[in-house]
C-alpha cells in the first residue's frame, strides 16, 4: 500500500466522520459546516486520484470544484440564515 493509498483511506475516514455529522445534525448550520468538510475531502481525493491514476484532466476538475464549492457554501449560508 503506497502513501497515496493510505492518504485516500484517511480522507475517506474524514469524509465519513463529517457525513455522520450531516446525518445527526442537529441544526442546518451544523450540516452546512459538515458538507463543507465533505466537499474539501472530495477535492483532496480528486487531486490524489489524478496522481494515482495519472489522469491530468482531474486537475481541471479540482480547479473548477474549488471555485464552485465556494458558491455552494454561500448559498448554504443563505439557507442557514433563513431557517430559524
Amino acid at each position: 500500500m503506497s502513501a497515496v493509498d493510505l492518504a485516500l483511506v484517511m480522507l475517506a475516514a474524514g469524509f465519513v466522520a463529517a457525513l455522520v455529522r450531516i446525518a445527526i445534525g442537529p441544526t442546518v448550520a451544523d450540516r452546512a459546516v459538515a458538507a463543507d468538510v465533505c466537499f474539501y475531502a472530495v477535492v483532496a481525493a480528486l487531486a490524489l486520484l489524478s496522481a494515482r491514476l495519472r489522469t491530468a484532466a482531474l486537475l481541471d476538475v479540482v480547479l473548477i470544484a474549488t471555485t464552485l464549492g465556494f458558491v455552494a457554501t454561500i448559498s448554504l449560508a443563505r439557507l442557514v440564515r433563513r431557517k430559524k
Binding site: A18, A47, L63
Partner: protein
C-alpha cells in the same frame, strides 16, 4: 523527492481526518466551524503540495497552485459567512461558548439582504 511527496500527502490526509473528527466531536456549531475551516484548508494545501511534488509537470503545478490560491481566498470567507448566519439565526450554543453581541445586533435590515 518521493519521501517529501509522501509525507505531505499523508500529513494532508491526516489533517482532513482531524477536520472530520472535529466536526463530528466538537460541542457546538462555532467550534465545529473552526475545525472544519482551518484544518481542512491546511489539509488541502498539504495534499495539493504533495500532488504537485508527485507530478512535477508545469500544467499540474500551475493548476494546483491556482486551486490552492482559490481555497485560501475562499475558505475563510465561507467559514465566516456560515458562522455569522448561524449566530444570526440563533443556533443554540455550548454552555462555555461566549459570543460577542455585536454580530447579533447586525440585523438583516442593516445588512441590505446580502448573501450572508
Amino acid at each position: 523527492m518521493s519521501v517529501v511527496a509522501d509525507l505531505l500527502v499523508v500529513a494532508g490526509a491526516f489533517l482532513m481526518l482531524l477536520a472530520g473528527l472535529g466536526v463530528l466531536r466538537l460541542p457546538d456549531v462555532l467550534a465545529r466551524l473552526q475545525a472544519g475551516t482551518k484544518a481542512a484548508s491546511l489539509a488541502l494545501a498539504c495534499v495539493f503540495a504533495g500532488t504537485a511534488t508527485l507530478e512535477p509537470s508545469i500544467g499540474a503545478v500551475v493548476k494546483l497552485a491556482l486551486a490552492m490560491l482559490f481555497v485560501f481566498a475562499t475558505a475563510p470567507v465561507a467559514g465566516h459567512v456560515i458562522g455569522r448566519a448561524a449566530v444570526q439565526a440563533g443556533v443554540p450554543l455550548w454552555k462555555d461558548t461566549w459570543v460577542d453581541v455585536s454580530p447579533l445586533e447586525f440585523t438583516e435590515e442593516q445588512d441590505g439582504g446580502g448573501p450572508g
